[in-house]
Amino acid sequence: MFYREAGDFKTSYVEDGQTFPIRLDRWGYYAIVFIAFAAIPFLINDYWANAVFVPFLIYSIAALGLNVLTGYAGQVSLGTGGFMAVGAFACYKLMTAFPEINIVFHIIVSGGITAAVGMLFGLPSLRIKGFYLAVATLAAQFFLVWLFNKVPWFYNYSASGQITAPERTVFGVAVTGPHTEAWAKYMVCLVFVFVLAWMVRNMTRGTLGRKWMAIRDMDIAAEIIGVSPLPAKLTAFGVSSFLVGIAGALFFAVYLGAAEVGEAFGPQKSFLVLFMIIIGGLGSVFGSFAGAAFMVLLPVLLKNLLVGGLGWPTDLATHFEIMLVGALIIVFLIAEPHGIAQLWRLAKEKLRLWPFPH
């Protein structure tokens, strides 16, 4: 069985434009989808759900969102944590105000609200670029966390200042609240990931994605062929914040169950998601997943290996992890800005030529 394009001729532009033009890739994708939907839900337990799968899925959505904005449209953002908080608080307010409406709608509407907020904060991007935009979005991050701390209406005047997700069901199965089972959490997140990733892939392979990338690569040339910068940038902010908002809503309602805004959605969250897309690969759907997987798995692996296996103290292992991530970020930024996704592509290119490299 060889990994080849040969014998796999494209006879139409529709086929040529598909996501997995190589047959083996397509099968691999179907296999992963099958395992994700039909096998894992039956095998998953609380440890795997909480330590690995649920955070991986939710961070994948956040990373996809940031990748749309930063990787595809070239607008650096350090406000991801703040926008996740918008999604979380929107979801909390909706859940408590309209308990009879299905949580899935609440989560989607939370994404919509975050999209609106994100577009508002995206308006300055017309005037400011690069470093200055990054600083402006970091300011948004601090402002939003401050706002959700400061105005008690957002946390329904609760004494602790925390927000807590009440139990909500989908088809009679609890998906939020303390009695939620591992497989239910996992399935909700998986369905969102599946649909959203498919949509992002569609948007980025068509004219919208080309507009974003054109603005990223050379904004004056984009304008000269008819891309008007305001809608192109605002759609990127909108789509990105929609995804990040949904990630925030899921993170709070399904994963954490209860959240304190500064702790759950502080600036460190913004950097975490940024690191995911740098390590995974800027401007790549696959890279968003790879980066999320890497950053979620790394602490789990290191903990098992260093603390469990070698008997290191926990804080030493944590510091080691921070250093390792820092080093990796530098290596990737200098040597391979397209991250794991590009390494994977190169490996496949080699494989396609194997065993005759010329």
Partner: protein, 279 residues
Amino acid sequence: MSSLTHKEEVPEGGYRTPDGRIIGGVLMDLKDITLRFGGVTAISNISFDIRQGEIRAIIGPNGAGKSSMLNVISGFYVPQEGEIWFRGRKRPPLKPYQVARQGVARTFQNIALFKGMTTLDNIMTGRVTRMKSNMLEQAIWWGRAEREEVENREVVERIIDFLEIQAIRKTPVGRLPYGLQKRVELGRALAAEPDLLLLDEPMAGMNVEEKEDMSRFILDVNDEFGTTIALIEHDMGVVMDLSDRVVVMDYGRKIGDGTPDEVRNDQAVIDAYLGVVHE
């Protein structure tokens, strides 16, 4: 052929070229354009017109203001004085993307491609103004989104064939050699199917063979699609071969305007090119 059996009329304001092509009326009319950057006057009181179907060259020494002129036409710079008339109407100050939507496309002196995108995607981006599907249709890849993608891909594939760049279709343009990048940039401009195509030094930095290819493409574009072309070029030989009429600029002023032969024998032009010392 019809042109042999009954002679085509030369339209009002047009003319017939020595090689028998019919040039139409005025497509773009630039009137008394003055452009200043602070104290520097890049363009000083220049007027000329571009007629339907012709190849109009702008020549002149470095710093003469040629690129600035194209930037005025494509909406990057708003001149302090003067009027731009396009298709018989006075044009209000427009943003570059609005000029693009009126049917003006261009290439840049320093290649301005989308480096991270493939040749195909770069040229597809030239079709943005023709793709109308909304964000939701794009997201679910339904109806218009997919149909438009295929229709526009067909147009783009014809351009790829025309420019003979099939082999680099899926290559990120950042990896291409200079000459090919220039060609892809031309492809991106052509993809817009412009009425007026502006080329800023399309042959700069090319070897003889590449220049010949590019000249052929420019002539073919003009001939096959009837596209009006305004181009800036340094190489006098190329200009003489390609263009119908030439504007000569020096220090922001127009010092000559006419057919290549007229311009070549003009004393002011000869002085400028021979480097007569300016006071």
